[in-house]
Symmetry: C3
Subunit: 285 residues, 3 copies
């Protein structure tokens, strides 16, 4: 019985980088099952990778190995790590990539939970155990400076899939900290709540840090000087710009059959304000 | 013994949408085998998805589960369905996406057969049995408004792959009708035969509704004011524009090492006329 | 026990071409494991496919079937072949695509070795055995003019994965030759060494024909009138243009967080000169 590997990178699919990592995994663990989460994270965008993991991980099997490589610091002194959270084991660079998924509690039935991360460090306690990957005998014999997915992380994931215990792959990091990104918390104000765009998907939908429970009744969403009255139920609405609760539970801003990112010329970090609507107050579009 | 799942969407591969559906499937059916047909259907282009299925399905194993999600109406009252045709089972929205593949008889050895669909409805009779997917206990416990691939269709495909009978997943639709697209039939005229472009592939090849048997001998293909004399045998021809019978059996218009769609600035729906050539008549380029 | 299939093409992922080949394989060999190496080789770019195979193959399991289809001559008289090298078997068109991988010795532990190919022919001797694929009973019953991946190569790979011996699939080519590309050898001159760009990856990195052992100490890399002093250890360098030994062992030219191909407007074939640096001589940037 092998653990399934779920694989996320910014490698793209134009070259053989992803295929070669899979080949290395299958050489070590011929029965491993490898599922692509995505390889389309924008190059070097570690935060986008962190958000993608945050929203995907709750839906993974409980015995998943999560192999995540968005690693602009490859070849520098950033550390390679593996961390167990519940039954799942995460393998990747210690650069914040794993932090949002690790800090979010997982629930049954699955749903995305917003992580609480107010400092750029995540303490490995409370059910998290981790190791520094410092056992070269579990890697490829020759380690390049620029492709640790192939030479380090892939082999480690393969060993984990095949049943090697975490403790055999490195020195314990438990009760120390790993790198993290602060997750923007909703800023409740008298005028409403302030959040920000945290991810832009390939449709140009703007996914924000706000969840349904943060919003006032009858909300008016303000972004880049535009006001959107109320929430749509789905994307089949004839309106130039809509807001809705997306499939991950976050407020999203979308253009039906178009791209909100292109229309508004905004990306991650853009402030989004949600206030009470006409029925409740005086703000107007 | 599980049935293999063949998976087609317009989700793209930049985000984790496809990977998350696979994760949900593997949580329900850990031994399921999932093969991507494509996730590159243009967003919301249900007809392009229908054509892609029409040409792919004859080559699928007879026990395949076809999971197809091009679903601009997600969250509206369009119905989720599953339909069995021969040994294969199709899962997706009732919006015409499945109609061309379901209306085309499958043959051994495999080849693509043009469906006869003159009305926007397909009657579930003559070997087709189907169900309305109305058993929430076979879905994820929480169903979002916008991601039924993850919450409804993926779980249903997983149960089918694991051997659950179709009848356990919904109420019978047999002897009722589902949504369909009319398939353009060749219009035989005194001057020749009139068809249209039905699909544009990533090389910019224009795939038409016409098959070899529709064409006059020594054909001249007319499209957007251009005439192409005769059919090429392959793509290695030094000509600015060629016509040939493509791998799905349909007449295609192509630019060797280039894009016919870009050169002619045409897409699906563009009329294509094929008349007898110089050897047989008077039409000239 | 089936052999795993590693699959490389220029088909892209927008259409169902790749998925249909997999469906055909799984119809013949239901337990086959199919891994994508890449389907993003630029259309018809056989040399780019050859380089991709050269750098990937050393990392494949020893029992791999390599299914490679970049085949602009499909439907012409180019031959379909299968060649065994060590334990691995390669299936594809006889157009040079396989030649670099077949000419490079494989080593344990894996690393990329530069092939020696001074003539456009590769002799099948010294551990290579091959067949001309001339047994239509191992193909699909109906063979199209333009999709031999589906109709010929995919079925052959499936039979090989399922254990059919190579000799059952065609007539022996052993002690004859197949098509090859010459591989550019380093040209050692008094001023340094001259090589060329052989591949451009999706990040715009320029991969050259030169390896670490070809370079003088303290090297200065010259390309398109630009000089780069010394080799970087990784991509996290604040410089407009860097040179480093890439993960395949070849000298690469890169723009940190950018594209060297776009900056320099160069592609495969571009000359690259490497001379001794300031510490050893007088060349300056």
């Amino acid at each position: 019985m092998t653990r399934p590997i779920f694989f996320l990178t910014d490698f793209g699919l134009s070259d053989t980088y992803v295929g070669v990592v899979k080949a290395v995994i299958l050489t070590i663990a011929p029965d491993a099952r490898i599922v692509d989460l995505t390889h389309g994270i924008p190059p070097q965008d570690v935060r986008a990778g962190a958000f993608a993991l945050l929203t995907a991980v709750p839906y993974l099997p409980k015995d998943a190995v999560v192999l995540a490589v968005v690693d602009p610091g490859v070849g520098t002194n950033r550390r390679p790590i593996a961390v167990q959270a519940g039954g799942r084991i995460f393998v990747g660079p210690d650069n914040g990539l794993l932090s949002w998924a690790l800090a979010a509690p997982t629930e049954t039935p699955p749903r995305v939970v917003r992580p609480t991360l107010r400092r750029p460090l995540l303490r490995l306690a409370d059910g998290l155990s981790g190791v520094l990957l410092d056992r070269p005998d579990s890697w490829l014999p020759m380690v390049s400076a620029s492709f640790h997915g192939r030479d380090v992380f892939g082999p480690v994931a393969a060993h984990l899939a095949a049943g090697t215990p975490l403790a055999a792959l490195g020195s314990s990091l438990t009760s120390t900290s790993i790198a993290a990104f602060c997750f923007p918390e909703p800023d409740q104000r008298s005028s409403g709540v302030l959040g920000q765009v945290v991810y832009v998907d390939r449709f140009g939908n703007l996914v924000t840090s706000l969840m349904a429970r943060d919003l006032p009744p009858d909300p008016v969403v303000m972004v880049r000087g535009r006001a959107i009255n109320g929430l749509a139920e789905h994307f089949q609405v004839s309106a130039p710009l809509i807001a809705l609760i997306g499939s991950a539970g976050f407020l999203e801003i979308a253009v039906p059959n178009g791209s909100a990112a292109a229309l508004l010329q905004v990306g991650a970090g853009e402030p989004v304000h949600v206030g009470p609507g006409e029925a409740s107050g005086t703000i107007r579009a």
